[in-house]
Every structure is written in structure tokens, then in C-alpha cells.
């Protein structure tokens, strides 16, 4: 029972990490770091909540989250890909803007409610028969739509990246953009398009926290999880399979901290349990020797040099 609980929580908490980290893999493979990931998560969480609350429809919530992601991505992508401004600098600006904007617009829509507004959570969808399996049944086959989507996206991401022409172009844009350019394919368009797509995924990942997990929106709802997804992309070696493994590990850490917090175990101070994912990232970043870094990661493609 305990194991089943942990496993279920792990899969649940790893859902947004999978989606976000996969998005980061796709976009970094084209050579662009999406530093705005934390802010995009937040905008997604906000839009998902607002859409669902106003219309009462979770579907609209999900669509709004995607839209918010697309808009944030368009801003980030335009400045970094077309105007070739520094990615870390631009991303930081958006990450500062996002919480201000989200809170402000929340206020615009809802004024100052006495109690935090709430929406219904995305329902869990049990898969017939499979959800009754012992131990793994509930964890893998009785989750909400986003969790299923996350697994499907990982598989699709792997297939697209390594088995299709689109994937070939994406991988080439980060490994040698000149080759893509020389082939007559517009590098900027490939990068911008992937940024938009990835940010749409980030929006969904953010919405998981507001309408898939908590049912409300607060300023701290993401609390650095976007950065965890960013780190997982790195630690997973820019590969969807690595993302799957990494997300489950971090999901487990998240789940454990929830369990420890609620079970009242006081052996370990709670603060340190919360810090585990971050410490884990630091350790893994240091321990990993060889990385498969896309050769042109973070470098804008400028055609007319000199």
C-alpha cells in the first residue's frame, strides 16, 4: 500500500517534468536554450486556471494553457531567434515579468477574493482492467489525461527526433546550423517553430500544477519546477529516454517529500527533503563527465558575419 502510494505520487509528480523536459530537449536540440521555461510554466498554470475557472471547462483550461505557452514562446523566440539577443538575459527578463503579469491579470479578472478561488481537478481516467493490476495499476493506469499525454509525448518525441525528417532537421539545427542553412532550410524558422511548440508544451506542464494537482493558482505554484525540468533535459543527455528516467527520479523525490511531510516523520528536517532535487541536480551535473551537448547550444545563428 505504501509502495503503491509512493509509486502513484511519483508518476503523478513526474508528469509535468516529463512534458517540460521533453519540450526543453526538442528546443535545445535546435540550439536554443529555453531559459524562459520557469516563466512559461507559470503562465501556463495561470492560464489553465483562469480558462477553467471562467468557463467551467477543463478543456478550455488546457487550451488556454497552450495558448499562453505559445504567446510566451513567441515573445522569447522572436527576441532570441530573430533579434539574436542573449538567451539567458532574455529568459531572465521573461521570468521576472511572468509572476508580475500573472498576479496582475489574476487581480484584473477576479479582484481580491476572500478565499482562494478553486477549480475542479482534471479527473483521473482509469484504464479498464489495467488499473486493477497490483502495485502498478493505480500508478500507471489511473491518472489524469496529462499523465497519459506525457508518456505518449515521450514516445512520440523519441520517434520524431530520431526516425523522421523533421527530427533530422531539428537535430541538425543545433549540431551545425550552417548545414541546415546550406540545405535551403530556414534555420530561424526551424528554431522559432520549435520554441513555440516547446513553450506550448511548457504551458501544459504548468497547467498540471494548477488544474491537475492543486485546483488553484498561487504566485509560488511552480516554485522552481521549471528549472528542474530544465536540469532534467541536461541530465537526460538531450534524449527523451533520459528525460523519462530523470523525470521519474525527480518525481520520486517530490513524492517522498510530500509523504514525509504528511506522515509527520521528523527524523530529517523537512527543508532538506525539499532541497533533495536541487542537491541531486548539482551532484549529477558535477558527476556527469561526458555530455552530448548540441554543438551550437545557446549560440544565435547569424548569417552575415563580419
Amino acid at each position: 500500500m505504501f509502495i503503491e502510494n509512493i509509486l502513484t505520487n511519483t508518476v503523478m509528480m513526474s508528469t509535468p517534468l516529463m512534458i517540460g523536459a521533453l519540450a526543453e530537449v526538442l528546443v535545445e536540440r535546435t540550439g536554443v536554450m529555453n531559459i524562459a521555461i520557469e516563466g512559461t510554466f507559470l503562465m501556463g498554470a495561470w492560464a489553465g486556471f483562469v480558462g477553467a475557472y471562467i468557463t467551467g471547462s477543463l478543456t478550455v483550461g488546457l487550451l488556454s494553457a497552450v495558448l499562453a505557452g505559445v504567446l510566451t514562446g513567441a515573445l522569447y523566440g522572436y527576441i532570441t531567434v530573430y533579434l539574436k539577443q542573449h538567451q539567458i538575459v532574455t529568459g531572465t527578463a521573461i521570468n521576472i515579468l511572468a509572476p508580475g503579469l500573472a498576479l496582475y491579470l489574476y487581480r484584473v479578472f477576479f479582484g481580491i477574493p476572500l478565499l482562494p478561488l478553486q477549480v475542479e481537478l482534471l479527473p483521473t481516467i482509469p484504464i479498464p482492467f489495467l488499473s486493477d493490476l497490483p502495485v502498478v495499476g493505480r500508478a500507471f493506469f489511473n491518472q489524469n489525461i496529462l499523465t497519459y499525454a506525457a508518456f505518449a509525448l515521450i514516445a512520440a518525441g523519441f520517434w520524431v527526433l530520431f526516425k523522421t525528417r523533421t527530427g533530422l532537421v531539428i537535430r541538425s539545427a543545433g549540431a551545425n546550423p550552417e548545414a541546415v542553412d546550406a540545405a535551403g532550410i530556414n534555420v530561424e524558422r526551424v528554431r522559432f517553430g520549435t520554441v513555440i511548440f516547446a513553450c506550448a508544451m511548457d504551458g501544459l506542464a504548468g497547467a498540471f500544477y494548477s488544474i491537475g494537482f492543486l485546483g488553484l493558482f498561487t504566485e509560488n505554484i511552480i516554485g522552481g519546477r521549471g528549472w528542474i525540468a530544465f536540469a532534467i533535459c541536461f541530465l537526460g543527455n538531450w534524449n527523451p529516454i533520459g528525460v523519462l528516467v530523470g523525470s521519474l527520479v525527480f518525481g520520486l523525490a517530490d513524492a517522498l517529500s510530500v509523504v514525509i511531510r504528511t506522515s509527520g516523520v521528523t527524523m530529517v528536517p523537512n527543508e532538506f527533503v525539499i532541497a533533495i532535487p536541487y542537491i541531486l541536480t548539482i551532484v549529477a551535473t558535477i558527476a556527469r563527465r561526458r555530455f552530448n551537448v548540441p554543438a551550437y547550444l545557446g549560440i544565435p545563428y547569424v548569417k552575415e558575419g563580419r
Binding site: 527576441i79 531572465t92 515579468l97 511572468a98 503579469l101 527543508e271 536541487y278
Partner: protein
């Protein structure tokens, strides 16, 4: 290049600040507020009396330091995204000194707090530099993650060993009066720390442009490969830069704890690191630019807070202003580059 163009371009950061404020002002329309009215009141509040005016500089002091923390490392093309964490570690060090060593007289205790915050922040930063130098770890990721670890340490200490005597709220006791930085202007919050921050900025300038250390830092920043070929030991530079950068952020903790708050409250000032990045960008990673940008941010805060307290304008507008100002500064970098290129082309054509 034409003289009038040059003048126009030099003022670009100023234009972009106005653009950012205009965009934020447009947001106010959603709440049926008149932006001109709001900005008018902001300015009025900021200059209403000595207390508020002085407060701008009190607010600017720690921002100068976190701005320098990012800007200094940026000169070596290193990304210290972890100033927030280094700031908290600095806060913890200085508040511990002030609380436990309060038997010491002020003229010893204050320098001790100063040194403790700088050393603690610097050591925390140097660890990042060491990870970069020794393991070739990505400093962006590590400095980012180190902030969350620092937050955990702070939360643990403030809820545990450092908690106030009443044990009610997650905050420390108020520090002894002689551990407080003396006021620069009486009856305001402006303290001598502001001048200290200016001094630190001057020091940063001196180190970067007048010393061999700065020479190495800038060479590493502008072309790491050529610097290596020139026999510059880049790993040493990484550690030293992060040490200094972290010390700057740690000192910001000294300013806030000993200068303004006089205690340490859990999770206070949670955006000072990110604002430092914005300030460094606005100030073009130059100490002088950083000082001016920090004063601007200080003014936005003071004016913004007053408006928020006295009218239905929500406090989130301050974040929006900061964000839009940063974005428009970034856009101005792009525009300036475009204009310079176009002017050069035009000149060639005329020849």
C-alpha cells in the same frame, strides 16, 4: 557617425526605460486606472519628503551589490544566477554575528558583520566557481540550484536555531542597536551602507580595468580560448570571479540586515537576485551603469510601494515594470546595433 545620431544612441537606455514604463502603464488601463495619474503620484511620492527620497538610495544600496554580482561575473562571461542564494547566506552570516557576538563593541562588531557576510557569500559563490573549474560543470545550472539549497538552509536555521526568542514567527530577534549601520541622514532609512556600496562599485571598476586580475577576467570573458593560449589560468579566474561575485551578493545581505531590516525574516526580499540581473543588463554590466540602474529600480520600488499602499494599484505592477523595462532594454540593444550597421553602410555608399 553623425554627431546627432551618436547622442541619440547614447541615450538609448533612457528611451527604453520610458518605453518599458509606458507598456506597464498600458496595463493599468485594465483596472480603469489612469497611468499618467499613477505615475504622477509615484513621482510625487518619491520626492514628497526627505524620508521617501532617501529611501530610494536605501533601496538602491543592496541592488547595486546584487547588480554587481551578476555584472562582475558577466565580464568573465560567467553566469552567476545564484546571487539570491549568496545574498541569503550573507544574511545568515551577518545576523548570526550580530546576534551571538553582540557583546563586542560596535566598531568591532560592524566590520565583523561586514566581513562575515562577504566571506560567507563569497565562499558559497566560490563553490560554484570551483565546480566549474574542477568538474567543468555548467555554472548556470549549479548557481541556479544553489539558490534553492541556500533557501532550504535559511528556512531550517530560521525555524530552528535562529528563531526569535518568542518562537512564534519564522524570523530572528532584532539585532542589538550597536550592530546597526549608522544613519547617513537622520530620521530616514538611508544609512552609510549606500556609500559603502558606491565604494564597492568603484572597487569593481578598479579591479576590472586597472589590475592584472581584471585584465585576465575580461580576456577570459571576451575570448576564453585566446586567454587559455595566452597562458591565463582560466580555472583560477573562474573561482576568483565567483568568490568576488558571491561576496558582492553576500554584502547585500549586510546592507539589508544591518542597515534596514535589523533582523532576518524567512524568505524576505525574494527577487533581489533576479533584480540584480535586470540591473546589470540595464547598466551594461558596467559598475557606473549598475549604480544608476539600481537607483532607478530603487525609485520604482519606493514610488511603486507608496502608490500601492494608497490606491487600488496592485503591488504586482512593480514586477511588471521591472520586466517590461528589461525587455525594452534588450530590444534597444538590438535596435542600436541595427542603426549603427545601417549608418556604416550608408557611409560606405556615400564614398
Amino acid at each position: 557617425m553623425d554627431r546627432k545620431w551618436r547622442f541619440f544612441l547614447a541615450l538609448f537606455p533612457v528611451w527604453s526605460v520610458f518605453l518599458g514604463l509606458a507598456l506597464s502603464g498600458a496595463m493599468l488601463l485594465f483596472l480603469d486606472l489612469n497611468p499618467l495619474d499613477v505615475y504622477g503620484r509615484m513621482v510625487a511620492f518619491a520626492f514628497r519628503d526627505m524620508y521617501n527620497f532617501a529611501d530610494i538610495f536605501a533601496k538602491a544600496a543592496p541592488l547595486i551589490l546584487t547588480g554587481l554580482a551578476f555584472g562582475f561575473a558577466f565580464r568573465a562571461f560567467l553566469f552567476n544566477i545564484g546571487a539570491q542564494g549568496q545574498f541569503y547566506i550573507g544574511c545568515l552570516a551577518t545576523v548570526s554575528c550580530a546576534l551571538y557576538l553582540d557583546a563586542l563593541p560596535g566598531f568591532i562588531l560592524l566590520p565583523l558583520c561586514f566581513a562575515a557576510s562577504a566571506l560567507a557569500g563569497g565562499a558559497w559563490g566560490a563553490l560554484i566557481g570551483y565546480a566549474k573549474a574542477r568538474f567543468n560543470a555548467n555554472e548556470f545550472l549549479i548557481s541556479l540550484m544553489s539558490t534553492y539549497v541556500a533557501v532550504a538552509i535559511m528556512n531550517y536555521l530560521i525555524r530552528g536555531p535562529l528563531i526569535e526568542s518568542k518562537g512564534e514567527y519564522p524570523q530572528t530577534d532584532v539585532i542589538a542597536p550597536h550592530a546597526i549601520i549608522p544613519k547617513l541622514i537622520p530620521h530616514t532609512r538611508l544609512h552609510w551602507g549606500f556609500l559603502l556600496a558606491l565604494l564597492v562599485a568603484a572597487l569593481a571598476y578598479f579591479v576590472l580595468w586597472k589590475t592584472t586580475l581584471g585584465f585576465q577576467i575580461r580576456a577570459v570573458g571576451m575570448n576564453r580560448e585566446s586567454a587559455r593560449y595566452a597562458g591565463i589560468r582560466e580555472k583560477r579566474v573562474f573561482v576568483i570571479v565567483f568568490l568576488i561575485s558571491g561576496a558582492f551578493a553576500g554584502l547585500a545581505g549586510f546592507m539589508e540586515v544591518n542597515g534596514v531590516q535589523h533582523m532576518l525574516v524567512q524568505g524576505f526580499n525574494p527577487a533581489i537576485g533576479a533584480e540584480g540581473i535586470g540591473i546589470a543588463i540595464l547598466g551594461n554590466a558596467h559598475p557606473v551603469g549598475i549604480v544608476f540602474a539600481a537607483i532607478l529600480f530603487g525609485a520604482l520600488k519606493v514610488g511603486g510601494n507608496m502608490v500601492v499602499q494608497t490606491s487600488p494599484v496592485p503591488s504586482s505592477i512593480i514586477g511588471i515594470m521591472e520586466g517590461f523595462v528589461m525587455l525594452s532594454v534588450i530590444l534597444s540593444f538590438y535596435l542600436r546595433r541595427r542603426i549603427v550597421t545601417a549608418l556604416e553602410k550608408k557611409k560606405l555608399r556615400r564614398d
